[in-house]
C-alpha cells in the first residue's frame, strides 16, 4: 500500500525585513544522502524546517514531493501529515518518558506500514542496555542514538537531520557517524542531512549543496565538490580529503593493515580486518591536507610509510601567497596537500605534473585517537 517517496523539492524565495533572505532550489532524491552544508547563519536549518512544515506558512515557500504538494501559495500540509522523520540537534526526547517510552511513542504513530521492529533497531543503534533508563541519565551520544532509533521506528517516508552531531564531542560524533551511514545502506528514501562540519558531510553525503547567505553557492556529488579546493580552502587546518579504500591484508610482524587504494597501497596501524559495521569491505579514510607533503622523486630514505604516486590536478594559493592547497589525482580519487608558498615555488609544480605524495598520518574516519 505504502507508496515510496521518490524525491522532495524545495523552492524557496523569501526576503525578510531583517535583511535575511533565502533564494534556492534543492532536490532530495531517494537512495542518496543529500547534504546541505554551510556556515551557521547561512539558512540551512530554516530550509530544513520549511520542508518539515515547522516554520509557519509563508509566501515564497514551495515544497513538493513527486506525488504531493506540501506547501505553496494555496496549500499547507501540517507537519504531522507529511510523514517525515526529523532528527534534531537537541534530540528533543520526551523527558516524561524513558527510552522505551520514547520509542513506543514513535511506534504507536507510524507514518506508514512497515516491518521495522524494535529489536532490530535496538540492535542497530546499540541501545539495548539503556532501554529502561530515564532520559536525563543518558550521555550526549546515547541521547542522539535513541533519537535516531525513535525516528526509524516511526517509519518515516523521508528523513531530515538537523546538525544531529552538533552537540556532541568529537569522540561521540565519530561513534555515531557509522550508524547514520549504516541507515543509508538499508533505507531507501529521500534523506537530507544538514551540517556545518565538512568531515561529516564528505563522509556521509552523496550529493552536496553548499549554502552561503541563503543561496546555493555550489552543488554536485561529493566526489566532485567534497574534495574540491574551493570547499576545503575555507576550512584551514580542517581541510582534508576523504578517500575510499578496500581491505587488504594484515602484517602481524609490524602490526599493519594494508589497504588497497586505486591500485596502490596504504598502511594503517593495527588489525583493521575486523571493522565495525556498516561496511565490512570499504573503509573511508580522511587524510588531513596538513599531513600530506609532496616530492618530485621517490624518496627511499624516509621514515614515511605511505607514499603514493599521483598527478597535480589543481592548485589554490591563498591570497598572500604564503601557502597553497594542492589537489592531486590518484586514479579516480583525490588527495589534498597543504604546502607553503616557498615549497610551491621550489618544486615548480603545475597542473599535470607527476608527484609523489607522502602521507604522515592516516586515520580511519570513524576513529578518534585518545
Amino acid at each position: 500500500m505504502a507508496i515510496k517517496m521518490k524525491h522532495i523539492e524545495a523552492i524557496v524565495k523569501v526576503q525578510r525585513a531583517s535583511g535575511f533572505s533565502l533564494d534556492l532550489d534543492i532536490k532530495i532524491q531517494h537512495g542518496d544522502i543529500t547534504a546541505l552544508y554551510g556556515p551557521s547563519g547561512s539558512g540551512k536549518s530554516s530550509v530544513l524546517r520549511m520542508i518539515a512544515g515547522l516554520e509557519p506558512k509563508m509566501p515564497g515557500v514551495k515544497v513538493k514531493t513527486d506525488a504531493e504538494t506540501w506547501a505553496d501559495s494555496h496549500v499547507f500540509v501540517p507537519t504531522h501529515k507529511r510523514g517525515i522523520g526529523f532528527v534534531f540537534q537537541q534530540t528533543q526526547l520526551f523527558p516524561h518518558l524513558n527510552v522505551l517510552g520514547n520509542l513506543q511513542y514513535a511506534l504507536q504513530r507510524k507514518h506508514q506500514q512497515s516491518d521495522i521492529e524494535l529489536a532490530q533497531v535496538k540492535q542497530w543503534l546499540g541501545i539495548d542496555a539503556i532501554i529502561n533508563k530515564p532520559i536525563d541519565e543518558l550521555s550526549g551520544g546515547e541521547l542522539q542514538r535513541v533519537s535516531i532509533a525513535r525516528v526509524l521506528l516511526n517509519s518515516p517516508r523521508a528523513l531530515l537531520m538537523d546538525e544531529p552531531l552538533g552537540a556532541l564531542d568529537q569522540r561521540a560524533r565519530m561513534r555515531i557517524l557509522p550508524y547514520i551511514d549504516h541507515l543509508h545502506d538499508r533505507l531507501d528514501f529521500p534523506f537530507l542531512y544538514v551540517s556545518h562540519a565538512i568531515d561529516e558531510v564528505t563522509y556521509l553525503a552523496d550529493q552536496i549543496y553548499l549554502l552561503e547567505d541563503g543561496r546555493i553557492h555550489q552543488s554536485g556529488t561529493t566526489f566532485e565538490i567534497g574534495n574540491s579546493l574551493e570547499m576545503n580552502a575555507r576550512e584551514g587546518d580542517a581541510a582534508a580529503a576523504t578517500i575510499r579504500c578496500s581491505m587488504g591484508s594484515f602484517d602481524e610482524q609490524f602490526n599493519l593493515t594494508k589497504l588497497n587504494f586505486e591500485g596502490q597501497s596504504i598502511y594503517v596501524t593495527g588489525d583493521r580486518r575486523v571493522v565495525r559495521e556498516p561496511d565490512q569491505n570499504i573503509l573511508k579514510l580522511r587524510i588531513p591536507a596538513r599531513d600530506v607533503s609532496l616530492t618530485l622523486g621517490r624518496n627511499a630514505n624516509t621514515s614515511i610509510l605511505n607514499i603514493l604516486q599521483g598527478t597535480i590536478d589543481q592548485i589554490h594559493q591563498n591570497s598572500d601567497g604564503t601557502s597553497a592547497l594542492v589537489r592531486i589525482k590518484v586514479g579516480e580519487q583525490f588527495i589534498l596537500s597543504r604546502i607553503t608558498g616557498k615549497s610551491l615555488t621550489n618544486l615548480q609544480i603545475n597542473t599535470g605534473s607527476d608527484v609523489f605524495i607522502q602521507i604522515k598520518s592516516v586515520g580511519l574516519l570513524t576513529e578518534y585517537d585518545d
Partner: protein
C-alpha cells in the same frame, strides 16, 4: 456543627467542585491559548482574566447582579431557557465563581504550558502527533504540576469567596448559603462557638490543601 452548617458545608463543597470542573474545561484551553498565541488580542484577554485578583469582589458581584436581572440579556436568556430567574440561585453562584476563580486556575497553568519547550512539540508533530494528540501525550504529562496547583488554588479560592457570593447569591439556606456566609451570620448573631468551628475548619482545610500543593511542587521540582 449544626445541621444548617452541615448543609452549608455540602453546598460549599459542591460549588467548589463544580467550579473547578468547569474551569478545567474552559480554563485549560484558555491557558493554552494564552501560552502560545501571538494574536494581539492577548493583551486584552490577559488583564480581563486577571481582574478578579485586584477588584473588590463586590464590584464583580454588582455587575453580575445587574447581568442576572431579568431585564438584561443574560438574565432574560436564563428565564427563557429554564423558566426561572437566575439571581440568588446556586447556578448564579457557579457562574460568579468561575469568573472569580479564573485567574487562580489559568495563571499557574499558563506558566506550566509556557515552560513546555516548543522543540518537544515540533518533535511530536514530526512523529505524527496531531495538535490534540500532542496536547494529551506531551503537554499534559509535562504540565501535571501546573494542573494540580491550578485545580487546588481554584478549589480553595472558591471555598474562600465571600463578597461576590453575598452579592449574587443572597443568603438562602440550602441553596446559596456557603460556609463563609454562615460564618458571617454566626458572628453577626454573636454565636462565637459556631463561628470558631467554621473559621477553624476553613483554616485547617486551606492549610492542608496548600501543603499538598507545596509538597508536590518540591517533589516534582527535580524533574
Amino acid at each position: 456543627m449544626n445541621d444548617g452548617d452541615l448543609t452549608s458545608l455540602l453546598i460549599t463543597a459542591q460549588l467548589a467542585s463544580i467550579t473547578t470542573i468547569i474551569l478545567a474545561l474552559i480554563g485549560t484551553p484558555l491557558a493554552w491559548w494564552l501560552a502560545r498565541t501571538s494574536n494581539p488580542i492577548r493583551v486584552l484577554v490577559e488583564p480581563i482574566v486577571a481582574l478578579p485578583i485586584v477588584l473588590p469582589p463586590t464590584v464583580l458581584g454588582f455587575y453580575f447582579l445587574m447581568a442576572f436581572s431579568p431585564d438584561n440579556f443574560l438574565g432574560n436568556l436564563w428565564i427563557l431557557l429554564t423558566g426561572s430567574p437566575l439571581a440568588f440561585t446556586f447556578s448564579a453562584l457557579v457562574i460568579g465563581s468561575v469568573f472569580y476563580s479564573l485567574p487562580f486556575y489559568v495563571q499557574p497553568l499558563q506558566v506550566a504550558f509556557e515552560n513546555v519547550e516548543q522543540g518537544l512539540l515540533d518533535a511530536a508533530a514530526t512523529l505524527g502527533a496531531s495538535n490534540l494528540d500532542s496536547f494529551f501525550s506531551v503537554i499534559v504529562p509535562l504540565s501535571r504540576r501546573g494542573f494540580v496547583v491550578a485545580a487546588c488554588l481554584a478549589f480553595a479560592h472558591t471555598v474562600g469567596e465571600f463578597g461576590i457570593v453575598l452579592m449574587i447569591g443572597g443568603n438562602i439556606p440550602g441553596e446559596t448559603r456557603v460556609l463563609s456566609i454562615a460564618l458571617f451570620d454566626h458572628v453577626e448573631s454573636l454565636q462565637y462557638q459556631n463561628a470558631h468551628i467554621l473559621a477553624g475548619g476553613l483554616m485547617i482545610f486551606s492549610f492542608l490543601l496548600l501543603s499538598v500543593v507545596y509538597s508536590l511542587n518540591r517533589k516534582w521540582q527535580s524533574r
